[in-house]
């Protein structure tokens, strides 16, 4: 084969290598931008919570959206504690939280029990249920004694971890 053809092939190999690299970088997209995104969504959630704070004073029987079919919150975000910044996409399946490895959300928190609490969907809402934990589960500064609804933005406290639902 002529020398020119060999040279062209050699350069072709180098070119292909860099094409591979560039296509990997291109295909990654914004996959590596973890922190920025979670920071942005935390800020958004915080402002949303601030604006809806007066609404939380309302009586438990008169919700402004009563009867209106709202979409169920789709994200569970950890706002404080060892796992702060973690978000979890929610489907239609119940979520178990605790320190045990078989939990859906494994809490890396010494004050959480093995199987601490369970979050399950019902209609357009999520319900939180304490699973007989040692230190209790707190929903908006009140200790859970029975399964209760969780509104988006309500802080759920398990040990040192604080979680909230986001739409």
């Amino acid at each position: 084969m002529s020398e020119l053809a060999v040279t062209v092939l050699q350069f072709g190999l180098l070119l292909l290598l860099w094409i591979l690299i560039l296509s990997i970088v291109g295909a990654q997209g914004r996959d590596l931008m973890v922190s920025k995104k979670s920071r942005a969504s935390t800020a958004a959630a915080r402002s949303a919570r601030a604006s809806s704070a007066p609404a939380e004073e309302r009586g438990s029987t008169s919700t402004p959206h009563a009867g209106v079919q709202r979409p169920r919150p789709r994200t569970l975000a950890v706002t404080d504690g060892p796992l702060a910044g973690t978000t979890l996409e929610l489907g239609s399946a119940p979520i178990m939280m605790g320190r045990a490895q078989e939990c859906t959300l494994v809490l890396d928190d010494d004050y959480a029990s093995g199987k601490h609490a369970r979050l399950f969907p019902q209609g357009s809402r999520w319900f939180l249920e304490d699973l007989g934990s040692t230190n209790g589960t707190w929903l908006a500064e009140e200790q859970l004694t029975r399964a209760s609804t969780v509104e988006p933005g309500d802080p759920i406290r398990i040990g040192k971890t604080v979680l909230e639902l986001r739409t």
Binding site: Q10, L17, A27, S92, P94, Q101, Q122, E129, L131
Partner: protein
């Protein structure tokens, strides 16, 4: 913006992307080998097509295994690894052609197949990396056994002054390569379990908090034994790597900078002691500092010929290289294993070597991404540990070749000739892919049984409870929700 984000974060398997990139990777890896034949004017025998077919089949089989078993695993890891492995095989083949001796390339291809199949089996059987957590202390014991094996008379053997090999009769093996996996599992498992204890308990002296001895004890025993055995074995590269792995995992688990400073001080003390007392290490430092001294260059054993020839090779390569098969990398001793970076630098030039380094960087970032994305502490530490293993190997090898640090002799991941390193690195890839699968897969678990039942204290059936303290009952419960509540 939030809408785009949600589209972005929705879990997608992205196996199609992987297939496309994998095909590109195969074109590069296989094309490089054919290029060698073309440039060196070798006849292209049927053996080429057989080797190509085998290599491509293994890579595609791995892709299929991922599709079946770990659908959400990171799509970029496999193409990168296949590219590097293919390039390595091509370069080893090229060096076989010019050395004319016993060909190394068929053995490398065989080991590639063995390693990739072993990785697939691991991926298939393990399914979830968290099961390794149960093996925390077993893997400590296994690491120690693996590290001690080469010291057993009759079993271990010494090559070039380093006693790190085990003779299995039909093949020789470096147990330390597998040891780095088990040690990473131990560090990750141990720190995931006792991170908080290490952080919170203990006395505070000045600005630094000292952990209790019993919390950190097992970790330091592991570290001292690993380093001690390696010093006895005269293998500097692996002790640097184990120490780096230890420091990195500790830092990621605790985020205490002060400990890193203590660790670096320990390294400095240990390094000076090693240079003064161990002749093997002192020689390496001499070679590093005075490589171009004629006296050291011409020294019969442990001279600087290898490094200097490697540097000349890199210089000869220049910007775009001499082309695969066009240079003289065979002048460098161990050109196909320890010095394979110099061989690539000569034949692919800075552009090609830069591409290879970029691939390592991308691979490193994918490993770290798997660690960032996964939700369990063990998986995070495991992925970070493996990322550090990868990046430290590259740094130690490249630093040695370019005289940034003394030459130590580690295997360049996926490129260098050497079966045990290849096996270990493929197994690491399998484990990281499992971690990334756990990180990226959507949270869809099967219908969970009500763990407590209605009789459990503090819980009541939500179906009965719901209407009393919410406004009008939202909607009839959906099937799956009702199933969960019943």
């Amino acid at each position: 913006m939030t809408q785009v984000d949600q589209v972005d974060t929705a879990p997608r398997p992205r196996r199609g992307v992987e297939l496309v990139l994998l095909l590109l990777a195969l074109i590069i890896g296989v094309g490089a080998k054919f290029m060698v034949a073309v440039t060196m004017e070798e006849p292209i025998t049927p053996a080429y097509y057989v080797a190509t077919g085998v290599f491509a089949a293994v890579a595609l089989a791995f892709h299929v295994v991922l599709r079946l078993r770990a659908k959400y695993a990171d799509p970029f890891v496999l193409p990168i690894v296949v590219t590097l492995n293919g390039l390595g095989i091509a370069m080893i083949h090229r060096l076989d052609l010019s050395s004319g001796g016993d060909p190394v390339e068929p053995r490398q291809l065989l080991w590639t197949v063995v390693s990739a199949v072993a990785a697939m089996v691991l991926l298939w059987l393990l399914r979830d990396h968290r099961r390794l957590r149960q093996l925390t202390y077993i893997s400590l014991v296994v690491s120690l056994i693996l590290l001690v094996l080469p010291l057993i008379p009759g079993l271990g053997m010494s090559v070039n002054g380093a006693r790190i090999w085990v003779n299995l009769g039909f093949a020789s093996f470096q147990p330390a390569e597998i040891g780095k996996i088990t040690l990473a599992v131990f560090f990750a498992g141990f720190l995931a379990n006792s991170r908080d204890l290490i952080l919170l308990a203990g006395r505070r002296i000045g600005p630094m908090q000292l952990p209790r001895a019993r919390d950190l004890g097992p970790l330091f025993i592991a570290w001292i034994l690993a380093i001690g055995v390696l010093v006895v074995q005269n293998d500097l590269g692996n002790s640097i790597m184990f120490f780096g792995l230890f420091m990195a995992t500790l830092y990621v688990a605790t985020s205490r900078l002060s400990w890193i400073l203590i660790g670096l001080a320990l390294v400095a003390v240990g390094g000076v002691l090693a240079v003064v007392t161990v002749p093997h290490v002192g020689q390496r430092v001499d070679v590093w500092l005075h490589a171009f001294d004629p006296e050291i260059y011409n020294r019969e054993f442990g001279g600087s010929l290898q490094i200097v020839q490697g540097l000349f090779g890199l210089a000869n390569g220049g910007l775009a290289g001499t082309g695969l098969g066009g240079g003289m990398p065979d002048r460098v001793p161990l050109a196909n294993s320890d010095m394979i970076f110099a061989s690539f630098g000569e034949e692919l030039g800075m552009v090609g070597l830069g591409a290879i380094l970029m691939l390592y960087l991308l691979l490193f970032s994918r490993f770290m991404r798997a660690g960032l994305g996964t939700r369990d502490a063990f998986g995070k530490l495991l992925a970070v540990g493996f990322a550090m293993v990868l990046v430290l190997q590259v740094f130690v090898v490249l630093g040695g070749i370019t005289r940034v640090i003394p030459m130590t002799g580690l295997a360049t991941p996926f490129l260098a000739a050497g079966g045990s390193a290849l096996l270990a690195n493929w197994l690491i890839v399998a484990l990281v892919l499992l971690v990334s699968h756990a990180a990226r897969r959507p949270i869809v678990v099967g219908p969970m049984v009500n763990a407590t039942g209605e009789s459990a204290a503090g819980t009541e059936s939500p179906a009965r409870q719901a209407p009393t303290h919410t406004a009008p009952r939202p909607t009839a419960p959906t099937d799956d929700a009702a199933g969960g509540a019943r």
